[in-house]
Assembly symmetry: C2
Homo-oligomer: 365 residues x 2
Amino acid sequence: MPQFAPLQNDTFLRALLRQPTEYTPVWLMRQAGRYLPEYRATRARAGSFLGLAKNPDYATEVTLQPIDRYPLDASILFSDILTVPDAMGLGLYFEDGEGPKFERTVRTEDDVARLHVPDMASLDYVFKAVTQIRTALDGRVPLIGFSGSPWTLACYMVEGGGSREFHTVKKMLYARPDLMHRILQVNADAVAQYLDAQIDAGAQAVMIFDSWGGALADGAYQAFSLAYMQKVLAQLQRNEGAIIRNGVRIPAIVFTKGGGLWLDEMADIGADALGLDWTVNLGRARALVGDRVALQGNLDPAILFAAPEQVAAEVEKALASYGTPSAGHGHVFNLGHGISQFTPPESVTAMVEAVHAFSRRQRAA
Amino acid sequence: MPQFAPLQNDTFLRALLRQPTEYTPVWLMRQAGRYLPEYRATRARAGSFLGLAKNPDYATEVTLQPIDRYPLDASILFSDILTVPDAMGLGLYFEDGEGPKFERTVRTEDDVARLHVPDMASLDYVFKAVTQIRTALDGRVPLIGFSGSPWTLACYMVEGGGSREFHTVKKMLYARPDLMHRILQVNADAVAQYLDAQIDAGAQAVMIFDSWGGALADGAYQAFSLAYMQKVLAQLQRNEGAIIRNGVRIPAIVFTKGGGLWLDEMADIGADALGLDWTVNLGRARALVGDRVALQGNLDPAILFAAPEQVAAEVEKALASYGTPSAGHGHVFNLGHGISQFTPPESVTAMVEAVHAFSRRQRAA
């Protein structure tokens, strides 16, 4: 394992582990992104999104941009949630102005039979980026590694891209649950190896993005998404139950967009924290999960289109809804979804300042 | 008020009013639609969707098609959720293969100031269709009237069409809540008049479709969607609290897609029943709302892509999850969203048969 500078700000990690913090730490999903002019400049030099994401130098550059601009409490690896199926040979690509697509889909018995856990060496560009970013961060804030969830990867693998209704993948789920379970098992094994390798490369926390779990029916969610995230977490290299490297705990966050109805079950799959989208009431969620997990979220990214004072007021509402953290509870502030490319950068300034200031006042009161 | 034949099957109405029924009644959102070849034939003769929806003869023809084909327990007016803003002069139109759009949007102070409740005479084609459909039904099953919710109408009015992220309308909500409240108040007044006129024309139940309430943050949902549905319900013509015509109760159903986290609050706004999407566990929802409201839902429409025996098995699971209806509880079976145009019509046969057969067995057990 590479050696890195000591961590100067562990507020984020402590909040995830439900330990006391002086204020509520904050970061933003997709914080290195198109709303930042400096990102757009690097992206233009890289030529394409994948050219950027697959080049550790560029990935390092853009990962640090929001850290340089704002007093954020965590950084997140710049990458894509679909690197794993790309490494399976499905051919990830992006068309201008559209979401991710795959050249090859996984739909037939033969497609499924051919599927296997990719050699992690083919994802070396990711692990190189992790080590390089962690080195460049020089201990300022922790670095989060991540992956798409087994179900979310399967959605793209079967549909061949994004979808509104997920008819193809859901048809397979209901008509051929055997095929779907086989895909998910391969995905879970691959995601576990992938996250473990990110941790070995220097990731200080990991997050599983279950972007499309919320499209599933109650019952199907538990069987086809939640169960496989649990398998991922169970397979991560652990010591006495905890994910630890060099004596330091590596917290794991699970985020199912649209999963607010299943928080009670999500709290028991072995994650340290749950991400929440903006439909969830923070106070109610805290009461529901108790001291089982920390919470992360959950401002509507659209709030960042309002004036700075309105942003601050909404931050205050959210923090008040969560309440003052107490023993065994933890809260990491974030948006409820990735930040929009149309966000004025000064809104993020207002948000981050408001989180830090109000949460310090809360604790002082 | 026109005179109509006596109702032969009131199972649907009794379930909504939480009265005992011999079996669980069933209908499907968007049951008159493109998955039916007879619908596609009428649609081709009408030339366009709006040509069909605005012509009472065609609307009657397609409304009755699923009733003739399946033993459904309710029919629903064939119309669009956006007739009201169209009557406000915004110019509803459809482009091939795309969702509804408006020629004019409502975004500026001037736009909002100009907005007013439309003369109901401009919606006469809807009320004519209601009367004509009810006459043609000849008492076989009840007829449901409907409207989009004030918030859902506002989404289309401000965005000018469908949206993935609702940035424009949410920006207005957070930056200019005064403008948003004014739009919603006009919409609520208009929807109340519109539903009252449908009831006067012969609708035997009404449903408010809040298709986009689930896009709102907790807090914003209550203030900008739920509160205005409550205003609509409160303004409907009532006798001693109940909506009654000719001595008969007219139940009102409210459906917020993605609103599963807010059912407790939704149960108190004066609706008789709540629609549920497929993310909601029927048994938990029943326990939560108690005897305040009946429930309607909630199969994932994607289940209808599986084989008939798989459809039947999923129906059975859903009915078992709800449990046997008891005094003060009511359940109307439905999908959790509109039926897909790609659904094999024989899947609907399997679903309706399974609902009727299993729910009779449940009651006999």
